[in-house]
Symmetry: D2
Subunit: 159 residues, 4 copies
């Protein structure tokens, strides 16, 4: 099957994530689970970029509620870093979605596409909280279309 | 919100996965990414159980094409192992789905639910291949209903 | 070379550490660094055993100051857990040594031997502190000889 | 105690190793075991630098026989990479030592010092082999003094 046409919105952050030799498993490929490590790392750097000084405040009050990933091509260790482009693909009252595309410096191959739902959380009260203004503004400035994930395609087919 | 009613089919495998202290991150909870490590570990043991002597043959020829996980409750390190129940929730010509529920020995809490799509693969020819008979028989013997994941609920709402 | 004669003292703790498939690296062996993960995991369980209810108190106030490991044989993933035997091999005023032997359930092979120096630490004052009585008693009850590590053998040769 | 005076020889390689947020453990510091991950990563890049096109040949035929690490200061996650300086500190007929100093970009703090013994190995014959000429030349070009590790200081004291 031809790879899906992936449209990365102009506001997306582009984060280089250094690969580690140990990210490979006994098959000699980057382990499936480590792809999510790349997503996490990219998110930490992108939040720093997007929320700036406010980051620690936000970081304390955001939980990952869901992640979905489509593996599109096997990756092997490379001295060139992985390249994760990520943006906000949905905002609601107490959660937002992040969409990610995983590539690598020096190639056009897309290795994975993914989506996480994050909920804003009041850590002291231990319950979900509404998104505050500066969070919403930051997310709106990097808003783009959601990816057409494998599960979404099945959803479309069912209609 | 009340936790979703999760129905684990009778044929599901129940795999104890020892937690490691280092699975926790700086928040003092099991890191989001490590949940997928538990799924991987459970799958390795369940495949050994389901495919027996044929396992290495199958293991060589199956790739993870997609994983989706809903995080339902935070986990902390415990001397009791995590408990992953998993089963086959769909079979097609060249792929099958595995559904997982993540709990822990000594509690009824469900920490996560997840679903992976695995494709059968001809490693020599480097292309997808049809499921062979003994694979289909093994999968049919542990067949159950898919979980109602968060993305599925959204799908249902759209109809 | 013949493996060194390793004498494990009777008071040593014997901890089963479940291997994970992902502990293997691209060479198909348990990654060198993961051996130290096994040591850490064994230490967490042994401290729980040795210090009992006092453990969290101690755990808060002990830092690893040094680890030395000799790799004796390559390990591969196994459904049988690794078996780490560990004991106290030295006690001083503000530190103690732990010696470890890494084997596996169902075999006599010794895969590694190691030694850590841990310092007792006052986390509030952020400085080393003296070992307290119950810590000393616990350590004395599992006291044994240090291992003859590779660096120690070189030391002996120099004399 | 004052930190040991560490002399890094001029021929040492200086490798930036990107930290990952997940390198921190539940104490909020870089986990002890992850320091060895930084050493491994630095070694992979330094060998690429030192052995060039011959690297894969060498990489196939070198095993880590021993690692010893002194932890000197706790590290926390930083957007600045760790900085590992490493060099050859001993060469014998079938093994060589690598010495490492772990710092971080933007600070003079030394977080750890370490030493590994690597043995040259004939993977086909499954036994140690002699160092070949191009390996010896590469190692001699980055030769420096060994570090005064904690265990070495004890050795000195015994004399």
């Amino acid at each position: 099957m031809p790879p899906p046409a992936i449209v990365v919105p102009p506001g997306a952050a582009t984060i280089e994530v250094a690969m580690r030799w140990s990210d490979m498993d006994a098959y000699g490929h980057v382990n499936n689970v480590q792809y999510l490590r790349y997503l996490e790392e990219a998110r930490v750097y992108a939040f720093h970029l997007w929320f700036g000084q406010e980051r620690s405040l936000l970081e304390d009050g955001v939980l990952v509620a869901r992640t979905e990933i489509d593996y599109l091509a096997p990756m092997t260790f490379n001295y060139q870093p992985a390249l994760v482009r990520l943006w906000c693909s949905a905002i609601s009252g107490a959660s937002f979605d992040i969409s990610y595309v995983v590539g690598q410096v020096g190639t056009d191959v897309t290795y994975a596409q993914a989506e996480s739902t994050l909920v804003t959380y009041d850590l002291t009260a231990a319950r979900p909280r509404r998104i505050v203004d500066h969070e919403r503004q930051a997310m709106e400035s990097v808003l783009g279309e959601p990816l057409l994930l494998r599960s979404h395609k099945e959803r479309r087919r069912e209609h």
